[in-house]
């Protein structure tokens, strides 16, 4: 008895441990989700020397750093850090609680690198002329989300350096070892707008140019529709055959059982068995009492309270009556 009690307690402890583990798992996942949100941000473009480019709200021309939300969800960057010093990752904190720090999907946000943070959330406490790199740090003050070195020797006045395609990092491959192809000197500065694709043609318009009458579209699309449904056809052809085969096997098994049990049941017609089986099937089936027959055999209570939701006279899409 005591051994049994001990086993029960041990089992309970195991369950509790398991539950705690699951809970911890969820917490870790949840924290990752938050981190993942911020990790969707990246440094997208920057301008070091601004003498003839855009002016800020205070009428001054200064360098700037543009961040980009690569995701299709809003990201709040309040609490994150921007720095130019790898030894001081928390140099400039982006204010929390500012509505403007919620960056909409695939949108940009601009920080003026004027060294005058008292001017507002979007004014950094350093300038880019004195910086070697720009680092975007997560709200934990430790995790680096993105960093980019400033190639001072390549950049002249009013020339910005940015990602060729917004938010896209080109990874080095065996064929392409040139990782730097992610970034380039841009033809024109584009603060708070796309670096690439301003003149991009919509896919539909491009399609119309090569397929003005929609013939290619019709052939391609119909092929895809047929392909999808043909795949379904093959799958259900297979499952159907398997199901029929199984049913036959069961029927043979059942009939051989009946033969071995003696001949007393043989006088009962098959229809009786079928009727009993149908009634039992209908009774035990949770849902859908009938799907083909309009009359059903059941041992279940059939009276139903009237409800307009299930009223047959109000069914959807009736055939119009010609009068």
């Amino acid at each position: 008895m005591e051994t049994f009690h001990y086993k029960q307690t041990a089992n309970k402890m195991k369950k509790i441990k398991y539950n705690i583990l699951v809970l911890l798992g969820f917490l870790v996942l949840a924290s990752n989700v938050t981190a993942q949100n911020m990790s969707d941000m990246c440094i997208n473009e920057f301008l070091v020397t601004n003498t003839d480019d855009f002016v800020n709200d205070f009428g001054h021309r200064t360098g700037w750093v543009e961040l980009f939300n690569t995701s299709y969800g809003t990201v709040n960057i309040g609490g994150c850090y921007i720095t130019n010093d790898p030894n001081n990752l928390t140099k400039y904190v982006i204010q929390r609680g500012d509505e403007l720090t919620k960056i909409k999907p695939r949108q940009h946000i601009l920080f003026w690198a004027d060294g005058e943070p008292h001017r507002g959330t979007f004014h950094l406490n350093f300038t880019l002329k004195e910086s070697k790199e720009i680092i975007l740090v997560s709200s934990d003050g430790k995790t680096i989300i993105d960093r980019v070195e400033i190639p001072h020797d390549l950049l002249s006045e009013n020339v910005s350096y940015g990602r060729i395609k917004d938010g896209v990092t080109v990874m080095a491959t065996k064929e392409n070892q040139d990782v730097e192809s992610t970034w380039a000197i841009l033809d024109k500065t584009s603060p708070s707008t796309n670096n690439y694709g301003l003149d991009q043609v919509q896919p539909g318009v491009a399609l119309k140019k090569v397929d003005p009458y929609g013939v290619i579209m019709a052939i391609t699309a119909m092929s895809v529709v047929f392909l999808s449904l043909i795949l379904l056809y093959f799958v259900f052809k297979g499952t159907g055959k398997y199901s029929i085969k199984k049913r036959r096997e069961r029927a043979i098994l059942a009939s051989s059982d009946g033969n071995t049990q003696g001949g007393e049941h043989c006088d009962t017609p098959g229809e009786v068995y079928a009727a009993i089986a149908t009634a039992l099937h209908m009774h035990f089936q949770d849902d859908e009492f009938h799907d083909i027959e309009s009359t059903i055999l059941t041992i279940d209570k059939v009276t139903r309270n009237y409800s307009p939701w299930s009223s047959k006279i109000h069914t959807l899409r009736e055939t119009p009556n010609r009068k």
């Binding site: 539909g204 019709a218 999808s228 043909i230 899409r317 009736e318 009068k323």
Partner: protein, 386 residues
């Protein structure tokens, strides 16, 4: 003197009040649209044409076409108004997937599972969509607009709304009204085409009785169906996902309450909201344009193409099928996804030629395949054009 002051004040107030009334702001367009709304209501009540759709849409037309003094935050296009908030479900495209959830929960795919080759008829009828797309391009519509108009050929109101909200929001009202109107007219449009394209011998083809489908097959269908179609056309996930999810609720046998809610109160509520707000969106100044007339003409064409290709495909298919496996071409029209109207048309026409030839269950196969096919086609258009 004082009396004169009060009188002039009253007159001024009355004049201001009159400025706000519908009479002062009425235009010929408003009157035309109100008459159209009344016609929809008449057809629904008197002729029993799709009453569950035409009554909300027809009344919505009345609501949306009461001439308004703009700026009072009442109109469907005025941001923040009650109607505008309800219209968000159409604009953002979240009503159609909810309707698909309900359709999935009320659809029995047994006839399709028992005879899966009927799936191909559902695919063939989607030619209506791409035929209409080509016609719309020829008429001069842009590619995205042509795609949105083409989907009318799928004969599926929710899919048409879903795609139009993504591809051509400006044409949404005309496309939705056109799609629903032609769905109501399926019993009028399809029979002449079916009669024209079939011979008497073909109409008398008796199809093999469908086999009983096991519960396991029914449970597997939504899971496999979703995975296969969604992997091929991920852009169709909102519609396909909800359709198959609803069907799994029905067939799993353990979520009866959820299935009943999805196919009952939920779909009814969404049908009311989608019908009313689509009707409201036909505000005269937005709706009464030449483009709307083109959309209605192309829409009719798309239904004709869909029916024709469905019937012709069955005839073609029969050339490779054994005699005992032949399909009655009268079910070819059911490849469009107007469930169950198109299947009913097949059944009725079949009975006209042989009163012992019951085609309803056979026609339900291509009919539900049409629902899947049109959702896949919508996904393809979305993927290609955006």
């Amino acid at each position: 003197m004082e009396n004169k002051g009060i009188l002039s004040l009253l007159t001024e107030n009355l004049q201001v009040f009159l400025q706000y009334t519908g009479f002062a702001n009425a235009t010929l367009g408003h009157i035309v649209m109100i008459l159209l709304g009344l016609l929809f209501i008449y057809l629904a009540i008197k002729k029993d044409w799709e009453p569950l759709l035409l009554i909300p849409i027809g009344f919505g037309m009345l609501v949306g076409n009461i001439p308004l003094f703009e700026g009072l935050q009442i109109g469907v296009y005025e941001e923040g108004s009650v109607l505008n908030i309800l219209y968000h479900g159409v604009q953002k495209g979240w009503y159609p997937p909810l309707i698909f959830l309900g359709i999935g929960a009320m659809t029995d795919f047994s006839s399709l599972i028992s005879n899966p080759k009927l799936l191909l008829i559902g695919a063939a009828a989607q030619f209506g969509i791409f035929g209409a797309y080509a016609i719309a391009l020829l008429v001069g519509f842009g590619p995205t607009e042509a795609g949105a108009i083409g989907i009318i050929g799928g004969a599926d109101g929710p899919t048409a709304i879903f795609l139009a909200s993504r591809l051509a929001p400006d044409l949404l009202g005309a496309i939705a009204v056109s799609a629903y109107s032609y769905m109501a007219l399926v019993p009028v449009i399809q029979p002449p085409i079916m009669r024209l394209l079939t011979t008497n011998k073909e109409r008398l083809i008796k199809m093999k009785a469908t086999r009983a489908v096991s519960q396991t097959e029914k449970k597997l269908f939504p899971i496999i169906g979703f995975l296969l179609t969604a992997f091929i056309v991920p852009t169709g996930i909102p519609l396909l996902g909800m359709l198959f999810f609803g069907n799994l609720l029905k067939e799993s046998g353990v979520t009866r309450r959820l299935a009943e809610t999805a196919r009952g109160p939920l779909i009814d509520v969404v049908t009311i909201l989608i019908g009313l707000t689509v009707g409201c969106s036909t505000q005269a100044d937005k709706f009464l344009q030449l483009t709307s007339i083109y959309i209605f003409i192309i829409g009719a064409g798309s239904f004709i193409i869909a029916t024709t290709t469905g019937v012709l495909f069955v005839k073609l298919f029969n050339t490779v099928l054994k005699d005992d496996n032949k399909i009655n071409p009268l079910i070819g029209n059911s490849g469009v996804s107007a469930v169950p109207d198109a299947a009913r048309v097949s059944h009725t026409i079949g009975l006209e030629y042989d009163n012992k030839n019951f085609l309803l269950m056979h026609a339900m196969g291509p009919n539900v395949a049409g629902v899947i096919g049109s959702a896949v086609a919508a996904g393809i258009l979305l993927g290609f054009l955006t």
